[in-house]
């Protein structure tokens, strides 16, 4: 079987001492940011991007991926012990996890979350290994028109499936496209919209933009709220779940994993959507729905498996189609591009060691995570007592030095200031920064493909609807938009 040979290659790549170390480091940092409520994986990956440029591309991606799925593990700890989601993807885990902790079952809740995540992680890894290659082969047949339509679908689907105002999210996409156009146009060599600033010739920096919108804006927002007193609930006396817990959670883990695997594939999907959907499904299927919210172990098992599966399968659209499905994956896409690897179907053939190495590292990373999380749980609990005021100047310092180190340019530090303030304004205005980031990453590719498609068709714009695959993708985009807009129209008419 070719898959096994490829996976073997991946294990050989991921199993080198260097890559094992970065995998472990990623898992460890991921757990850390997962546990800390004021710090999310998007902000962390943005902050660490500059550091990863000193590493080989494979090690960098292995580490960044580890942060993303590692955060899913760590987040459950805070949700269960403190009733605060460490990440958005663990919001629903609070409902039953915290109740379990109050009943003195914190240990089993943590163990179920970690073991469920482990199962989901392993299952999702094999899912990626089996289904990513065929998808990439389909995508290799795409021409520029198909690619443009696919990217449009990816962007629109990402905002339709995310929460918040659709109109604002679409506007954020267009704003992201506009920002991505700043700089020298590759085709003509003309500087565009640079306001005469020479450092802008290379475009607005991806790293200061992402770091400002996510990390700095998050710090400012955290500072406006009074500091939470985090009081971990109860002592953890035993970890091992009872036989009854196992019996109840095994099917929930299976369902959560399947749901998360599928939802992670969708643009805008990933960890958060998966966990919400899995919790709802468990509650609907349960014979005693009243147990939910009162410490039902299924209510921990299903969403925690789902968010880990979803976090991992959201890599598939990136590795096979070159379309980032959410903000973390968009940052990975940026990291790949800066290392000179263009995300897309050709990655599998041109950089098989990278493609399979990253996938295989997920298997290793998940096993490491169980060890990091369960025996060391006491350490993570203690970490929750570190007050935020000691912690945010550290984050800001890492951001500043990291941004500066990219080009040894203080200009990028000022770009960071601008996007930090803008990111805070977006939070206040209810504008999601994630669609802007996705569009910023895809913008140059979209322009390039529009241009190429129109050259091929001799300037005939109907090429986008004349080619069947492209037409299908565009129709799907339209259906998605209408699906959201139509109920709203109907409601407005009824009023």
């Amino acid at each position: 079987m070719e898959v096994f040979a490829n996976f073997g290659l991946g294990l050989a790549v991921a199993g080198t001492a260097e890559n094992l170390f970065y995998c472990f480091l990623g898992a460890l940092i991921g757990t850390l940011v997962g546990v800390l409520p004021g710090l999310g994986p998007v902000a962390t990956v943005a902050m660490l991007l500059p550091v990863t440029f000193h590493l080989p591309a494979i090690s960098a991606l292995i580490m960044l991926a580890g942060i993303y799925y590692g955060a899913q593990y760590g987040a459950s700890t805070t949700a269960i012990l403190v009733n605060l989601p460490g990440e958005n993807s663990s919001v629903v885990t609070c409902l039953d996890g915290y109740q379990m902790a109050r009943q003195g079952r914190a240990g089993p809740a943590l163990a179920v979350a970690a073991l469920g995540s482990l199962f989901a992680g392993i299952a999702a890894t094999f899912f990626i290994a089996l289904f990513a290659p065929p998808l990439a082969e389909i995508a290799l047949m795409f021409g520029p028109a198909e690619y443009f339509s696919l990217m449009l679908l990816g962007l629109v689907a990402a905002v339709v499936l995310a929460q918040g105002s659709l109109l604002k999210a679409l506007a954020m996409i267009v704003l992201g496209l506009l920002l991505s156009l700043v700089g020298v146009d590759v085709n003509s060599g003309v500087a565009r919209m640079t306001v005469g600033l020479v450092p802008l010739n290379d475009g607005i920096g991806f790293v200061p933009l992402a770091m400002g919108l996510f990390a700095v804006a998050e710090v400012i927002r955290n500072l406006e709220r009074p500091e939470h007193r985090l009081l971990p609930q109860g002592r953890i006396t035993h970890l091992w779940p009872s036989w009854d817990d196992f019996r109840r959670s095994a099917p929930a883990v299976l369902r959560g994993t399947s749901l998360g695997t599928v939802l992670g594939l969708l643009p805008g999907g990933g960890a958060m959507l998966s966990s919400f959907a899995a919790y709802t499904l468990e509650k609907k299927l349960s014979r005693e729905p009243s147990r939910f919210g009162q410490g039902a172990v299924e209510g921990v098992a299903a969403p925690e498996s789902a968010n880990n599966a979803g976090a991992q399968t959201s890599f598939i659209p990136l590795l096979t189609l070159g379309i980032p499905a959410n903000a973390v994956i968009a940052l990975m896409a940026g990291a790949m591009m800066i290392h000179g690897v263009q995300p897309g179907p050709q990655v599998m053939t041109s950089n098989p060691d990278l493609f399979w190495g990253v996938i295989a590292s997920m298997l290793i990373g998940n096993c490491m995570l169980v060890v990091i999380n369960l025996p060391l749980i006491g350490l993570w609990v203690r970490l929750l007592h570190v007050p935020y005021r000691l912690f945010y100047p550290f984050l800001l310092a890492i951001c500043c030095i990291g941004v500066y180190s990219l080009n040894n340019s203080t200009f990028d530090v000022f770009v960071l200031v601008a996007f930090g303030a803008l990111g805070y304004a977006f939070l206040k205005w209810g504008c999601e920064p994630a669609p802007l980031l996705l569009a910023f990453v895809l913008g140059p590719l979209m322009e390039e493909n529009v241009r190429r498609a129109l050259v091929f068709s001799r300037g005939d714009a109907s090429t986008f609807v004349a080619r069947p695959i492209s037409l299908g993708l565009l129709l799907l985009t339209l259906v998605l938009v209408l699906a959201i807009v139509l109920p709203a129209v109907r409601r407005a008419r009824a009023n």
């Binding site: 000193h54 109109l167 604002k168 506007a171 267009v174 704003l175 496209l177 506009l178 156009l181 146009d185 085709n187 003509s188 003309v190 565009r192 919209m193 306001v195 700095v216 710090v219 400012i220 927002r221 500072l223 406006e224 009074p226 500091e227 007050p387 935020y388 005021r389 000691l390 945010y392 100047p393 550290f394 800001l396 310092a397 951001c399 500043c400 030095i401 500066y404 180190s405 040894n408 203080t410 530090v413 000022f414 960071l416 200031v417 930090g420 303030a421 805070y424 206040k428 205005w429 209810g430 504008c431 322009e447 529009v450 241009r451 129109l454 050259v455 001799r458 300037g459 714009a461 407005a492």
Partner: protein, 149 residues
């Protein structure tokens, strides 16, 4: 008095302004034809679409009423921005150590209360950390001290 247009009108108006600015900046770029696009074609297209969304948002806010404005935490916003800007200004002039000290001092002023001694210790600790990690371990070469350049 609560203004019923809310954030939608403000965001919409700002988007229109950004689109207009973008259009103006792209004004002297050659448009070209659809087949041979000049550098100005795509930016103009994007600006039109952006202005369209801005109009829709503003119109929705005016007609249906948008979500109300939230109060801004001006102090952390200004001081965190100032802290990062100070880092940018000081790094190449006075070196990494001074830049980090300024960053900590300003950003702590923007945040929660806490003893000055604690802030001072934090600043010194962070300066040591940054120099050892970035300069000694990762081999970056920013100026470190004000006197050695």
């Amino acid at each position: 008095m609560r203004w019923r247009g809310g954030t939608d009108v403000i965001v919409g108006a700002l988007l229109i302004a950004v689109a207009a600015a973008g259009y103006w900046l792209a004004a002297d770029l050659r448009i070209g034809t659809a087949m041979r696009m000049g550098p100005g074609y795509f930016p103009r297209l994007v600006c039109w679409v952006l202005a369209g969304f801005g109009l829709l948002l503003a119109a929705r806010g005016l007609l249906a009423g948008g979500p109300p404005l939230e109060t801004w935490a001006v102090r952390p916003l200004l001081l965190v921005s100032a802290a990062i800007a100070a880092f940018g200004l000081l790094l190449e002039r006075l070196g990494l150590v001074v830049a980090v000290l300024a960053l900590v001092a300003l950003s702590r002023a923007g945040g929660r209360e806490g003893r000055p001694v604690e802030a001072a210790l934090l600043a010194i600790g962070l300066a040591v950390f940054c120099v050892s990690l970035f300069v000694w371990l990762l081999g970056m070469t920013p100026p470190v001290w004000p006197w050695r350049r």
